[in-house]
């Protein structure tokens, strides 16, 4: 011990027994208070009813300031009232549940600075509702605001009758208890909100489950490890695996072995993809039991972009596929059944007219010529109707290749030269700019050009020229076929692409057309992602045109070049 400290000890006044016992008392009292506060804290934390904690608050508060009455009042903003939810002591029965209007004066009392207010002559204080002062026999009042995050939510009030004023120095413990009360309220509110949120979530979950169960399509959800975490009733039916057994298994087990390698790498890709990519996998999967299922698998991301798994929708398209095959088979059979007699007819007529059965006298030749022309027309009609059937049933499949439109147009023009010269119509084909190659079905596009040419030749006056222009227009290759025929009235221009539409006063039937050529052409061009249209002025002629999109260089390279 240093000499300085020695000195300071010497200067202290002597400690008496009374002092010590006083100090002991104070420590004891503080311990009691701490015990009370702890009990309140435990009541709050135990998750019991709010009233239980607040009852304890009122009780311990009364003890701390030796009050006859204590009450916890919470502000109710809807009717603007102070609602005494708990009280203790004399009059507790009457105080608990009572409400006093939150008048301006009361509000001032409660809120003003958030500081405690001590009133030792209530009858003389205008801030106190005087009816209560009289009814409850109040004389001294102690009011401490209860605050949550600086916001006053209510009060802890204590009251005494005459002769028991409150001392300002008593307030520290009282205030602490008030704070505990506020915490209890906050805690209860939080609890209520959490309970609400939970029951909302549960209701939402039930709704989603109900929807998923009702869905005809199978839904299988897997986590980021590829383990199944959910499958609905339809999925159970499709993969013939009860979800109780399915959940926890790898998603790959849903697929037949031959698909697993692909699905595995698909999942890897989806996992590494970005939510913005919108990447998904869609594939018809043939299951072992003969079912065909269309699977659409998408990655599931959280808002922060984290990959949490995959969701797959499985649609049983077995019937659809079977129906599709039946339709396709039907069209094919009809084609065969119609073409076989036409083959015999065309063959017989052609051979007879070609002299295979001897000389044909002129009158007979004329009649047989009519038969031959109409036989050809019937053949075209059958071809076109089969095309329409294919288009309408979605069976028009395109054999996509890199194709020079210029070459295809030249072939179509050559094919139509004979018809043109019969009609004394000239065909003039040229290119403008440098038309690029296009990824398309060359035969089908040639069919479109042939149709447009046949139409143009049909309506072109003898001695006129039909112009064919192939050009490059922005991202498209454009083909124009222009005749100098009668033109098409504005009102009918859209309708010419309808099946069997006849422009008034002009008959395709007379000229051997099927009435289906433009409808087929439109379907072919549109299936290529292109556009078809016409410009026409009555009395001057028509220009039919179509545009096909030119792919980027990559697409051309990956398809190889054949031009």
């Amino acid at each position: 011990m240093s000499s300085d400290e020695m000195q300071s000890v010497e200067k202290q006044p002597p400690v008496t027994i009374a002092d010590l016992s006083q100090e002991c008392m104070e420590v004891f009292e503080r311990l009691t208070i701490i015990g009370d506060l702890l009990e309140i804290s435990e009541a709050i934390a135990s998750g019991k009813e709010l009233s239980y904690a607040l009852q304890m608050v009122a009780e311990r508060a009364a003890k701390s300031v030796d009050a006859e009455i204590t009450a916890v009042g919470l502000i109710d903003w809807k009717p603007r009232e102070l609602h005494y939810v708990q009280s203790y002591g004399r009059l507790a029965d009457r105080v608990t549940g009572s409400r006093i209007p939150l008048t301006e004066s009361v509000r001032k009392l409660v809120k003003k600075s958030g500081e405690p207010v001590v009133i030792n002559d209530a009858a003389a204080d205008s801030r106190i509702p005087q009816d209560l002062v009289a009814e409850w026999g109040l004389h001294s009042l102690l009011v401490v605001p209860m605050k949550i995050r600086k916001k006053v939510i209510g009060v802890l009030a204590a009251a005494n009758g005459l002769g028991k004023p409150f001392a300002v120095r008593d307030l520290r413990v009282f205030e602490t208890i008030a704070n505990h009360g506020a915490v209890a309220v906050a805690h209860a509110e939080l609890h209520a909100r959490a309970r609400h949120a939970l029951s909302d979530l549960e209701a939402e979950k039930m709704k989603i489950e109900a929807v998923l169960t009702q869905l005809g399509d199978g839904v299988v959800v897997a986590d980021s490890q590829g383990r199944i975490i959910m499958m609905n009733a339809a999925a159970e039916r499709i993969v013939e695996l009860p979800s109780t057994e399915g959940c926890g298994r790898g998603i790959l087990e849903v697929f037949p072995k031959t698909y697993r390698g692909e699905v595995h790498s698909v999942i890897k890709h989806l996992q590494q993809s970005n939510p913005k990519d919108g990447l998904f996998w869609e594939q018809n999967v043939a299951l072992l039991d003969g079912k065909t299922v269309r699977v659409n698998m998408r990655p599931v991301f959280l808002k922060n972009g984290a990959f949490v798994g995959t969701a797959s929708v499985m649609q049983d398209i077995t019937e659809h596929v079977e129906l599709d095959e039946a339709k396709s088979e039907f069209i094919s059979t009809v084609a065969h059944e119609l073409r076989t007699p036409l083959t015999a007819l065309k063959g017989s007529l052609g051979l007879t007219l070609g002299g295979a059965a001897g000389e044909v006298e002129p009158r007979l030749r004329e009649l047989m010529g009519i038969a031959q022309n109409n036989c050809d027309r019937l053949i075209r009609l059958v071809d076109d109707m089969l095309d329409v059937a294919k288009i309408e049933s979605g069976h028009l499949s395109l054999d996509l290749q890199v194709v020079s439109i210029k070459d295809r147009v030249a072939r179509a023009v050559n094919q139509m030269r004979e018809l043109a010269s019969e009609r004394q119509v000239k065909l003039a084909a040229r290119t403008m700019g440098r038309p690029r190659s296009v990824v398309c079905d060359g035969d089908r596009i040639e069919q479109v050009v042939t149709n447009l040419l046949a139409n143009a030749i049909r309506f072109a006056p003898a001695g006129s020229t039909v112009d064919i222009v192939v050009s490059q227009v922005h991202g498209y290759v454009k083909v124009n076929v222009t005749d100098r025929g009668p033109g098409i009235p504005t009102g009918e221009q859209k309708k010419v692409f309808e099946k069997f539409y006849q422009v008034s006063g002009q008959s395709w039937a007379r000229d051997g057309g099927s009435g289906l050529g433009l409808a087929i052409s439109k379907a072919i061009v549109e299936q290529h992602g292109g556009k078809i249209g016409l410009r026409s002025t009555e009395g001057k002629g028509s220009t039919f045109f179509f545009l096909l999109p030119v792919p980027g260089e990559e697409a051309l390279l990956s398809n190889g070049r054949d031009d």
Binding site: H336, K346, G347
Partner: protein, 128 residues
């Protein structure tokens, strides 16, 4: 130029007759006829034709199966086989090519052009 021997395998008697007349009329071909695939294979063995024209759709043994059998026979596999088909979808055409055909002709055909078309396909097959 010496007329080549062509085997026509076709189940419809009327079409068979027309094919026969077309090809004889052209003066380029001598024709031998079979009414289905089985008879056609037998005849091919006996007659060793230069060319075979075969209908795709026939009872008993259809064109595709017949063609496959012909192509598996060491003595017959080099004879060019041309399909005649009323089903002109790509699927059917691919089937014919897979079965070993060197080309196909659609039905109905132009009777006066048929010989020329057959020639063109056969030439293409001989000089790949």
């Amino acid at each position: 130029m010496k007329a080549r021997k062509i085997l026509i395998i076709e189940d419809e008697p009327e079409i068979r007759l027309i094919l026969e007349m077309c090809l004889q009329h052209s003066g380029c071909f001598d024709t031998i006829l079979a009414c289905d695939g089985l008879e056609g294979i037998e005849m091919a063995r006996e007659e060793a034709p230069d060319l075979i024209l075969i209908d795709a759709v026939m009872p008993r043994l259809d064109g595709y199966a017949t063609c496959r059998i012909l192509k598996q026979d060491t003595e017959l596999k080099d004879i060019p086989v041309i399909f005649l088909t009323a089903k002109t979808d790509r699927r059917e055409i691919k089937r014919a090519i897979r079965a070993g055909a060197c080309g196909y002709l659609p039905k109905p055909f132009d009777p006066l052009q048929l010989a020329n078309q057959i020639d063109r396909i056969a030439e293409g097959a001989e000089s790949p």
